[in-house]
Symmetry: C2
């Protein structure tokens, strides 16, 4: 019986998927005591110091969405936001004027930064921040930063005056990923490691899910943290991924620019090949020694690619992949759970 | 001719007086080139780290008032404030829930804290913060923190479980100064010193004004900073003070609780005696060697005390002391300028 589920997740896509997973588990296991626990290991490579405050976009997307506070219309951030503080910061010439910080959101950043400066680890700070929601009951998912060490993805671009490294957010938000990325550098990665909480969660997992997040700067960064891969392997749990590509296009964001930068085609099969086969599901000869996936869900629109991915040794299903709302996200999560059970059995 | 005026100032009272001084100087010297410069040396003893942000109440009262942005009705803070961020901080359990931080005000605190963490001195941060106002023209007064070293006034109180030291703001705002102060401790004062900017300004002054601010925790703290007294003495400028007491009551705040704590009666003459005579104005025999004042303005309501203060060797006038608005503040500042000229001549 499934007891411990771990999701590797980036921001908005990971949050939508995880919210659907929670809904599906509640439907399948009405009694809370019989419900599997869900832990999300979240990318922190997009984190940045902005105006002296630690901003953690992916963790906050997860927290706000799982707290039911996200702005559904805009797709990110908190409902009912206002922007009085950031207008002041811009007037003072402080921070990134192109980086939107809502007033309510700044409350989170100030609180987190104060906790970090008080000596709490990032993991402890997230635990305290999430405890507030649902009238103090907290979130239905344990959120874990992938590492307590600051790791920041920087991007090498050339704006005409030679190559330069800029923070991922500067490339992503300020330049809208228009300047071609020449390479990604995870500043702080050498010397960093997965937290013991992440290692424990992964080792105890009986299903590991790779959310439909950016394969390069979200999932790729999590997997690059020393200790993560070993803990996944130690768990013996099946690893099921969900394609972030539908019909040859990224579902959201500009993930194709990231894939292009590392020489991966924007297709559901190319991303599966990039993650690699774990070599345990189908015993395929093409299995890579460092592969990640046992199972892979692709969109109905991409059903023609099923056999190509299966040839890699990855059990593959084509299913409805659009997460339009909680029910469609829950149905997708149900497909992941079913494929996971099939792989485990 | 008067060229350089320095005001020693606390928060709201100091800000109202200084705004009146600016108006009076503009009226007396319509041509900007002929107008004396005004520098305010401002108390930073009320500063605190709140939710990881450096809050500097007196400097901000000065800045907001001189920028014309203060909330006249409430008497402090910025006009048109809102409180969305601090509600979030309280929900997260971060900061001082009893300490009001407006959203616009938090913009200032975030900006200042970012500058300090970037390595700017407090003096440099204030210079950058003040440059923003009046469409980038800055303020009509140079604001100088009394020191670039953090100095925090703490108060010994006994709430029933023995003596304890709390931050001044905790005593002042949370306890409304109801718990009797047993003593004040300037944490950080040993080893701190006046900045070179403060020393230069005082040394070059041809008039030093002691604003009608709290004599203990505002003016007293400024005077305690090593280097301030010596620079005042080095200037040779007359020192004229304005009483913060009218008719035996403090004009605002709870300054009487501070005076009581150090054994000084709440009266215009007792405060003058506490500051002490410089011994230069009237050649009085009672002049203290460490005295500060050459001149002293008290309220019309206190005119009976003029002779008692003059007997200390301090030239004293009773004048309208209520600063109801800019014209009454300007008229008071004019009285200070006139007494200063009389003492200089």
């Amino acid at each position: 019986m499934l007891q411990n589920i771990v999701v590797l997740a980036g921001g908005v896509g990971g949050a939508r998927f995880t919210r659907g997973l929670v809904a599906e588990l509640e439907a399948r296991h009405p009694h809370p005591a019989a419900r599997p626990s869900v832990t999300a290991v979240v990318n922190t490579g997009d984190d940045a110091w902005v105006a002296g405050l630690r901003v953690t976009p992916d963790l906050d997307s997860m927290m706000y969405t799982l707290a039911g506070q996200n702005d559904e219309e805009r797709g990110w951030g908190l409902r009912g936001e206002s922007y009085r503080v950031s207008a002041e910061l811009t007037a003072y010439g402080v921070g990134w004027p192109w980086f939107t910080l809502g007033d309510l959101d700044l409350g989170t950043h100030i609180a987190r930064s104060a906790m970090l400066r008080d000596g709490l680890s990032h993991t402890q700070a997230v635990e305290r921040l999430t405890a507030r929601w649902n009238d103090g009951a907290g979130l239905p998912v344990t959120l874990l930063p992938m590492s307590d060490s600051p790791i920041e993805t920087h991007v090498e671009i050339d704006l005409g005056s030679g190559p330069e490294l800029v923070h991922f957010e500067e490339w992503w938000v300020k330049h809208r990923a228009q300047a071609p990325a020449r390479r990604f550098v995870q500043v702080g990665l050498p010397g960093a490691s997965a937290t013991w909480q992440v290692r424990d969660a992964l080792t105890a997992a009986d299903l590991v899910i790779v959310a439909p997040s950016n394969p390069v700067v979200s999932i790729g960064t999590i997997l690059a943290v020393p200790g993560v891969r070993a803990a996944i392997d130690a768990s013996g749990a099946p690893v099921v991924g969900v394609s972030p590509i539908i019909g040859g296009s990224v579902v959201r964001g500009m993930a194709d620019a990231c894939l292009t930068a590392i020489g991966v085609e924007t297709s559901a099969s190319a991303v599966a090949a990039h993650y690699g086969s774990r070599g345990t599901a189908l015993g395929g000869s093409a299995a890579s020694a460092r592969g990640l996936l046992d199972g892979w869900l692709i969109a109905e629109e991409d059903s023609a690619l099923v056999s190509a991915v299966e040839a890699l040794g990855i059990r593959t299903r084509s299913v409805p992949l659009w997460m339009r709302d909680v029910p469609t996200s829950a149905a997708l999560a149900g497909q992941v759970l079913d494929l996971g059970a099939e792989l485990a059995g």
